[in-house]
């Protein structure tokens, strides 16, 4: 049975890193460049981890812009939509890994993600309204050879071990400065 996740490698890594917390310190990096209007391009390739510089197989390029109803050119999705990309893909990866570990064969996993956003916040139209999402709802449709309770447990466990779920649900210190 395989969902294509090398769980053994993850479990081995867990054991090794328990005794080597320094090696577990990763730095993920992105660099972005303003294009024009509210359009920017962000590139991601290198990161740091396991004590040394690492690299993805190839560079990925992300365009961010705003749709025409924001009087922009829509060269890419809005930045806040990237959070939905991160959340959906992180939870999905978690589900595949947990399922693999529990011996559950997945036939299909689909998620629809909705983030409720009151844009009066970012427009400064009402100071009581926050800038970010008010709430996010993820709905998974999962076809797997397992009873519903086990599928619900997969989904619950994937949230418990999700980096993006944690980053969205808990505050993080963010420093922004001018070089």
């Amino acid at each position: 049975m395989t969902n294509g996740v090398n769980v053994q490698a993850l479990l081995d890594a867990r054991e090794v890193l328990k005794g080597a917390p320094e090696a577990a310190q990763f730095t993920w990096r992105a660099s972005s460049k303003w294009q024009h209007g509210v359009h920017s391009t962000t590139r991601i390739e290198k990161f740091f981890g396991l004590g040394q510089e690492q690299s993805h197989k190839s560079e990925s390029v992300f365009e961010a812009d705003h749709p025409a109803i924001f009087a922009a050119e829509d060269n890419g999705i809005t930045p806040i939509e990237y959070l939905l990309v991160g959340l959906a893909s992180c939870l999905t990866a978690g589900i595949a890994s947990v399922a693999q570990n529990r011996g559950i064969k997945l036939n299909s996993v689909e998620a629809s993600v909705e983030g409720g956003h009151d844009i009066r916040g970012i427009l400064g139209a009402d100071s009581d309204v926050r800038n970010g999402f008010n709430d996010i709802k993820v709905t998974f449709s999962i076809d797997a050879d397992a009873p519903r309770a086990d599928i619900e447990a997969l989904v619950a466990q994937s949230q418990k071990r999700s980096a993006v779920f944690d980053a969205l649900t808990n505050p993080t210190n963010v420093t922004v400065e001018v070089a």
Binding site: A149, E152, A153, A156, K160, D166, T169, N170, P171
Partner: protein
């Protein structure tokens, strides 16, 4: 003083160790800084009752003989019970051990009443000596009073006004309920927790834990022992179910895990729904285990935790809404007096089923040798096996 075995602590763990040491004719002394059952006398709140029913609280050589085997003992009753089982135990009360170090013949204990030389030592000083309070407590504005379960006695000692209870395990749910009943508004910050009904299919849920074999699972059979040893206490309290739904009905407001205090505001995780879902799933899986053991059709299933649609994720601690915080965020042991390199960086003893090596032993720690080790009823088997090992060590 010279003894073969020094036992540190006269709670139920130290008393049980003594029982088996006596049975093995090993001369020993039990050193206790306070009195027998000191923790139950001085480190518990007024209303506390055991969450284990009377019939279950057995110690080697003594068990409940009163009129209410299905009741839940108050602190006076627990102290009486332990005192009775200490009748023939060589306890020296009022002796604080301030250091334990290796010596040529075993161990040298330094105490405030003079040194003790022992060939072997049993650490039974308790797993809950200090209230664990997260570091972020330092950022709480000084206008808000802070209290741990060690300082808390009853609601009337809290300032009037709102109370934030952090932690929803046994201690947190019990304190949230009684503080709410005192009329104060209560906000309960809920992280990972263990939900249990008080009664399942007509029997105490701990009857099921005890008899179905769940609690007998050995430490070397547990999948993730580190995790099992850190598992929070179940949401149980005396005679009736005290889960989050009961608290909501009492008017307690649920919020997520406290994740930061920033600019004088407490910020709570947006993951409340998930910790509740995890607890519901685990409870249902536990009930399935009971059914399978009993060979019966699935019994009652309880309503899922009703999480508020819009749990607050920010509470301003400077507004006067919250006047005090109760840290029900767990307990940890204190080994500051232990000068033997057996404490890991997280402050836990490095042991294999209570065996630390070189004649040093521990009792009374979570999942020491079995899942029930934390509880009074778990000590008998653990103490017997640990003392057996100690006896063989002495025989060389």
């Amino acid at each position: 003083m010279n003894v073969t075995t020094a036992v540190i602590g006269a709670g139920h763990a130290g008393l049980a160790a003594s029982h088996f040491l006596t049975a093995a004719s090993i001369d020993h002394v039990v050193l206790e800084r306070g009195e027998v059952a000191n923790s139950w006398r001085h480190e518990r709140w007024d209303s506390l009752r055991l969450l284990t029913p009377n019939w279950l609280n057995r110690l080697p050589g003594s068990h409940y003989e009163g009129p209410d085997p299905d009741g839940y003992a108050d602190m006076g009753e627990v102290v009486d019970f332990l005192e009775r089982s200490a009748k023939d135990v060589p306890v020296r009360t009022g002796v604080t051990v301030t250091s334990v170090r290796r010596s040529a013949g075993g161990y040298t204990l330094t105490t405030d009443q003079g040194p003790v030389e022992a060939r072997t030592v049993v650490i039974a000083s308790g797993a809950c000596n200090v209230a664990s309070v997260p570091a972020l407590a330092a950022a709480v504005p000084s206008s808000v009073e802070q209290v741990t379960p060690f300082g808390y006695r009853n609601p009337s000692r809290l300032p009037d006004g709102g109370v934030l209870v952090v932690g929803a395990s046994a201690t947190g749910v019990q304190l949230a309920a009684e503080i709410r009943r005192s009329g104060r508004p209560v906000v309960l910050s809920v992280g990972e927790h263990v939900r249990m009904p008080r009664v399942y299919e007509g029997r105490d849920v701990l009857w099921w834990m005890h008899n179905s074999g769940v609690w007998s699972q050995r430490y070397d059979e547990v999948d993730d022992l580190t995790r099992a040893r850190r598992l929070p206490s179940p949401q149980l309290a005396g005679a009736s179910t005290l889960d989050l739904n009961v608290l909501t009905a009492l008017g307690v407001e649920l919020v997520g895990r406290l994740s930061a205090i920033r600019d004088g505001a407490a910020l709570f995780s947006g993951g409340l729904r998930n910790v509740a879902a995890l607890a519901d799933l685990k409870m249902n899986r536990l009930l399935d285990t009971f059914d399978q053991w009993a060979g019966t059709a699935p019994g009652e299933r309880f309503a899922p935790t009703d999480v508020p649609g819009t749990a607050r994720w920010r509470v301003d601690l400077g507004s006067g809404e919250i006047r005090s915080i109760v840290w029900a965020t767990g307990f940890r042991p204190d080994y500051s007096w232990l000068d033997v390199p057996v404490v890991d960086p997280k402050g836990a003893l490095t042991h294999d089923g209570g065996v630390l090596g070189d004649g040093l032993y521990a009792l009374g720690l979570p999942v020491l040798r079995r899942r029930r080790s934390t509880f009074i009823c778990g000590i008998e088997d653990d103490a017997r096996e640990v003392v057996d090992h100690l006896r063989l060590h002495l025989a060389g």
